[in-house]
């Protein structure tokens, strides 16, 4: 398969082995009508601006797959506004969407939108962020990464890279975001058994490169003994690299950097030797989402929780897997 664009390149997310959990959900349980994906109007509600490569790749993946399967795609972007996302979803239902894919802005607050879909018997697949509503009732199923697991895997990478000793600074994601909460929890749990690794600072970089950079600049001054940085997304990690270089440090060498996402820029930095490791958060939900919709349409039972497999990049494989990064 030859990728058409850079963002849609790389392997599609596939369901991780044995990780799809929960009792099944089928059309017979929901009583929803049968809809063929081919020729159907499918709505996709994106949550945030596409400045972050993760979002770009996510949207591209859905778009490409919809085109491939002959579905008509309606697309909205909530621009980080929860109320707008609710309206977006309702308006797509109104405009005739028979199937919905939603990348929720946050884990809570979409209930009214789900209720609207339920009332019109429109199945909803949520991707990327898991919501607190009821699967198979409020929405069909969740396809996405296990963010706690991502944090744990980042911790493993960190332990491996530091040999289990060091002072870690955490660049937190945006406050109030469940991705932040989960990736922090996973990481802290992951290093709990390694007393040599201590967290000396945790400050928010708001998932943003320049904020990550600014915070890192402060921390490296007040805590010059920092030996490792855990960034909850690549953008902040890249910002940290810039900050550390400016402070005369050698990121990737005297200061280890581990982050989550798998963007091309970060993986490139690993290959260049100034980054330690990246745990992937795979944004290519398109194929899996449409497979799931098709399966559901056929009447098959689908799992309520589809955890996708995330890759990992480190110095051993970065150069060779660079093409997979987004």
């Amino acid at each position: 398969e030859t990728p058409t664009t850079a963002t849609s390149g790389g392997p599609a997310a596939s369901a991780a082995q044995n990780q799809s959990a929960g009792p099944g959900c089928a059309r017979s349980t929901t009583g929803y009508p049968q809809v063929d994906v081919k020729g159907a109007v499918v709505g996709f509600s994106q949550s945030e601006k596409e400045a972050n490569p993760f979002r770009t790749a996510e949207t591209a993946s859905i778009r490409d797959e919809a085109a491939k399967r002959g579905a008509e795609l309606l697309y909205t972007n909530a621009q980080s506004d929860l109320n707008k996302q609710i309206s977006d979803i309702k308006s797509m239902i109104d405009r005739g969407a028979k199937l919905l894919i939603v990348a929720p802005l946050n884990s809570d607050g979409l209930q009214p939108a789900f209720d609207a879909a339920k009332a019109k018997q429109v199945p909803v697949i949520t991707i990327d962020r898991k919501v607190t509503s009821k699967p198979c009732t409020d929405y069909l199923t969740f396809i996405g990464s296990d963010f706690v697991e991502q944090g744990k895997r980042a911790a493993q990478q960190m332990i491996k890279a530091t040999g289990g000793t060091g002072k870690v600074a955490i660049l937190l994601g945006a406050s109030g975001n469940n991705v932040t909460v989960d990736r922090t929890k996973g990481f802290k749990d992951g290093i709990a058994g390694t007393p040599g690794l201590t967290v000396v600072a945790e400050q928010t970089g708001e998932f943003d490169r320049s904020k990550g950079q600014a915070v890192m600049e402060q921390l490296i001054q007040s805590n010059p003994d920092i030996t490792a940085v855990y960034a909850e997304n690549d953008e902040m990690g890249i910002g940290a690299v810039t900050a550390l270089k400016a402070a005369g440090k050698q990121p990737g060498k005297d200061i280890k950097i581990v982050s989550v996402d798998g963007t091309r820029n970060a993986v490139q930095l690993i290959a260049d030797g100034s980054y330690t490791a990246v745990v992937e958060s795979n944004p290519r939900f398109g194929p899996l989402a449409f497979d799931t919709l098709e399966k559901f349409g056929k009447g098959d039972e689908i799992p309520q929780n589809i955890v996708i497999s995330d890759d990992e990049y480190d110095s051993a494989n970065a150069a060779q897997k660079l093409g997979n990064a987004y």
Partner: protein, 326 residues
């Protein structure tokens, strides 16, 4: 004779003034009617009952906040804290809902009202600029929100069967309760503004503060009251939103203050104070929401163009108003 000459002069000046006044007052309304009509014709789905219901519901939260903002702006002030107070109100309501309906409603009103009161006291008693005082409370309320949610990690859920949820989700003929709350508040607000002594004090304070003092208007008290009101209403809007979303979402309300200011100004209220109407504000909300809805109806518009369109639209409205006012 001289008397009749004076009246002749006025006769020459007034009809034009009245004409402009009508255009000014109704200018926004005319624009709204036109836009609704055109949208109806161009986008068949626009006029669907579902869409109109959702439009009204989405507008209702902003109306509640903008009523408070209208009062504040008529006194010549500004309230930047409403976005944060809105989010805080939602969180408090969700947290309070575990203690019953009354707690869920009273807690946000009291706490946000209190912060509004402090805004008012600082502004009225210390001669500090409203812009900067309320900017500080914007930060403060956001910080408080994070503090009570464990840095945003906790999203309080409202039990789906609680009476409080009904406040946000209940409907009459499919129209949500918040619409009626907003409507009642708008009518009340208009009445208070135009038919009570407090309302007259609001106009006098913004129209000519020094004179108002000499006319015996309790200027300081009036200011304290309008900021308290604005805070309380922002808290109420937050509570309604929480009831609607069934949870105290922490990531909402960012930048909402600018929306509120924009709708008030679009509605013809003078930013310098002394003049304004609640009806205008409601129409302003209508205009903003219809524009957003239409952008969604177009569907294919690049999401980045959406803010460009909003900006251009805002510009056209204020420039037109300005020209009419001449």
């Amino acid at each position: 004779m001289t008397v009749s000459e004076t009246s002749r002069q006025h006769g020459a000046v007034l009809p034009k003034a009245t004409r402009t006044k009508v255009l000014q007052r109704q200018g926004a309304a005319v624009a709204l009617v036109l836009m609704v009509a055109v949208s109806w014709l161009v986008f068949p789905r626009f006029g669907s009952l579902d869409n109109l219901r959702d439009l009204a519901l989405q507008g209702s939260f902003l109306v509640v906040i903008a009523i408070g903002m209208t009062f504040v702006i008529i006194t010549g002030g500004i309230d930047l804290s409403v976005g944060s107070l809105y989010a805080l109100g939602g969180v408090l309501a969700a947290w309070g809902s575990q203690y019953g309906f009354l707690a869920a409603l009273a807690l946000p009103l009291v706490v946000c009202g209190l912060i509004g009161l402090i805004n008012g006291l600082l502004i009225a008693r210390t001669n500090m600029a409203p812009f900067i005082v309320t900017l500080a409370s914007l930060l403060f309320a956001r910080g408080l929100l994070l503090a009570i949610t464990d840095e945003g990690a906790n999203t309080y859920q409202i039990p789906a069967d609680s009476a409080f949820v009904e406040l946000g989700r209940g409907t009459v003929f499919g129209f949500g309760y918040p619409i009626f709350v907003a409507a009642v508040l708008a009518v009340l607000g208009g009445m208070v503004l135009n038919r009570t002594n407090f309302g007259q004090n609001v106009f006098a304070t913004g129209g000519a503060e020094q004179s108002a003092v000499l006319l015996g208007v309790p200027v300081a008290k009036t200011k304290v009251l309008v900021y308290t009101m604005s805070g309380t209403l922002a808290g109420l809007a937050g509570a309604l939103t929480a009831a609607y979303l069934q949870s105290g979402v922490t990531v909402i309300g960012v930048g909402l203050e600018l929306d509120a200011i924009a709708v008030v100004v679009i509605g013809g209220t003078l930013l310098t104070g002394g003049m304004g109407t609640i009806l205008g504000t409601v129409i302003g909300v209508g205009l903003i929401k219809v524009i957003q809805n239409v952008i969604n109806q177009i569907g294919t518009l690049d999401s980045n163009y959406q803010s460009v369109v909003s900006g251009v639209f805002l510009l056209i409205v204020v420039v037109l108003q300005r020209i009419l006012r001449r």
